[in-house]
Symmetry: C2
Subunit: 309 residues, 2 copies
């Protein structure tokens, strides 16, 4: 079973465990719609890779952390897509939750997914008497996860910065995307009983890279490629690295962040494999042939890039 | 310091501890708006009363549980008041969060309050090395809290039942209101190191009583008395005990539930005090003079009750 399959199996298992027969049927269907089939599941994959190279010794705790991360991410997508934010119709190539079901159900789905993220971790402690070591790991994982999501500097703060008139672009992006990547790498270490701090820089660099990649794809992408409408940053007046740095500047910064991420991987048995994963992921995030093709097109029709950025 | 003052002090302390300087200012202001000044703080009061009569021995853990309960309750109010649900303008006698700030901020405020509820409990475990006993209490409290809030049968499920075409009124009300009352009594016992199960019936009965009281007040109340618009159940076509049982039937059921709650208090040193608190609270919930006055008024003008129910 590779990492992707392991995450998928854990997602199904935990969903069925928490969402009992008595769950209101529409809410349950909406939660399932938000979670399956998933997107790239990049956060739990990163988390699990870190846990594995850190010598994971409690697979059920590792699994629960992966699911918790994906639940938090999915909750934020469901709420971000709602009419009062992005009013998005498409997500992961299918209709968004509020379009498929209703606005009230989308609101509740996000709330329920946040609570469920904690539940899957807490459930690891209640099944049987667990060791003090494992109870502390679970508490520390929840602590880091909350920091990645909550109001002071997590993804909720990232969204809230969009509502402020004065925004520091890096602070905004660090909160909006970077925070959950940092939570992923740190939680991976904790799940394996390792210290989280040496893994912080990897999460931060990859989070920043991922956000910039999103900005770049928002300019160069096609809806078929990324599964959601393009040109959204410009349309919603959101701060974007592609606006501030220009498209070529943003692509350079993206490459620098990927190099930094690869360099930051602490000395460990799987260092080589993890670095290879990072380079492979960077090609998926901003396919360089796609980027070059866009630059060529702009040379022919310069108006288009001005409209999109 | 009485229970009310202790809760207020704990709320302020935890808010300032979690909401650091770097929190986006509008989000922070909106969270404060949702929390201060509070309503009756009935759930944390009930919780704390149970913890005290159960012989609480870890005051910081007790405080954190009270705050967590109030945060979850406040989160549900902020989201319930939003345009896609009740579209309420008033709450606790002042403007609702989406009216005072904006819809996106109200959505994020609810999310952040849910996460913060877990944070205040988790923070008790990270300040210093805590004993295994206390780590387990915190995990168990979070487990019970999640059950009171989450999708299968917590307050989120309660709201979701409103979106179903077929609803079991008691299942709906048990989830919508009862679940967080049950969490309150059970968490109170756990915080004090006692077994939660003997306290379940108290939470269930009081939760049911509180919901019926809400339905009764929705019919007989004045906006000045309850701090939010009346006649909302009828207007939103929500299931209501006052509709099903009639007003007098609902009042009888309310009295029965209060008696049941008082009887269910387990044998403990403070049993007498706790029972007195319950009777006093019941008078606040459905003031019998107010109820009698309404019945008199209906005799004079029978149309009004038909319109309101």
């Amino acid at each position: 079973m590779n990492i992707e399959q392991r995450i998928q199996a854990a997602m199904e298992r935990h969903f069925n465990e928490v969402m009992t027969e008595s769950t209101p049927p529409t809410l349950k269907a909406a939660m399932r719609h938000a979670l399956f089939p998933g997107g790239a599941r990049i956060r739990p994959q990163l988390y699990m890779a870190v846990a594995m190279v850190s010598g994971e010794d409690a697979p059920l705790i590792t699994d629960a952390g992966a699911v918790a991360l994906e639940l938090m991410h999915s909750a934020s997508l469901v709420h971000d897509d709602m009419p009062c934010f992005d009013d998005a119709q498409l997500r992961r190539g299918k209709t968004t939750v509020h379009v498929e079901f209703s606005e009230p159900i989308a609101l509740l789905t996000g709330d329920a997914l946040i609570v469920m993220a904690y539940q899957v971790l807490i459930n690891q402690s209640t099944k049987k008497a667990i060791s003090r070591k494992h109870a502390n790991r679970l508490l520390e994982m929840m602590h880091v996860l909350s920091q990645g999501v909550g109001a002071p500097s997590g993804i909720v703060a990232g969204q809230a910065w969009e509502c402020e008139s004065k925004v520091d672009l890096w602070k905004y992006q660090r909160a909006k995307t970077g925070s959950l990547f940092t939570a992923a790498t740190c939680m991976g270490a904790i799940a394996a009983g390792a210290k989280p701090d040496p893994w912080r820089e990897l999460g931060e660099s990859l989070g920043d890279a991922y956000q910039i990649a999103d900005d770049i794809r928002d300019v160069i992408g096609h809806v078929e490629l990324i599964g959601k409408p393009v040109g959204q940053d410009a349309e919603h007046g959101r701060p974007s690295a592609a606006q501030v740095l220009g498209l070529e500047g943003a692509n350079k910064e993206f490459q620098r962040l990927i190099e930094n991420a690869a360099r930051s991987v602490p000395d460990c048995a799987g260092r080589h494999i993890l670095r290879e994963m990072i380079y492979k992921e960077s090609e998926r995030l901003v396919p360089q042939p796609e980027y070059e093709r866009y630059l060529q097109m702009v040379k022919v029709n310069p108006q288009r890039v001005e409209k999109a950025i």
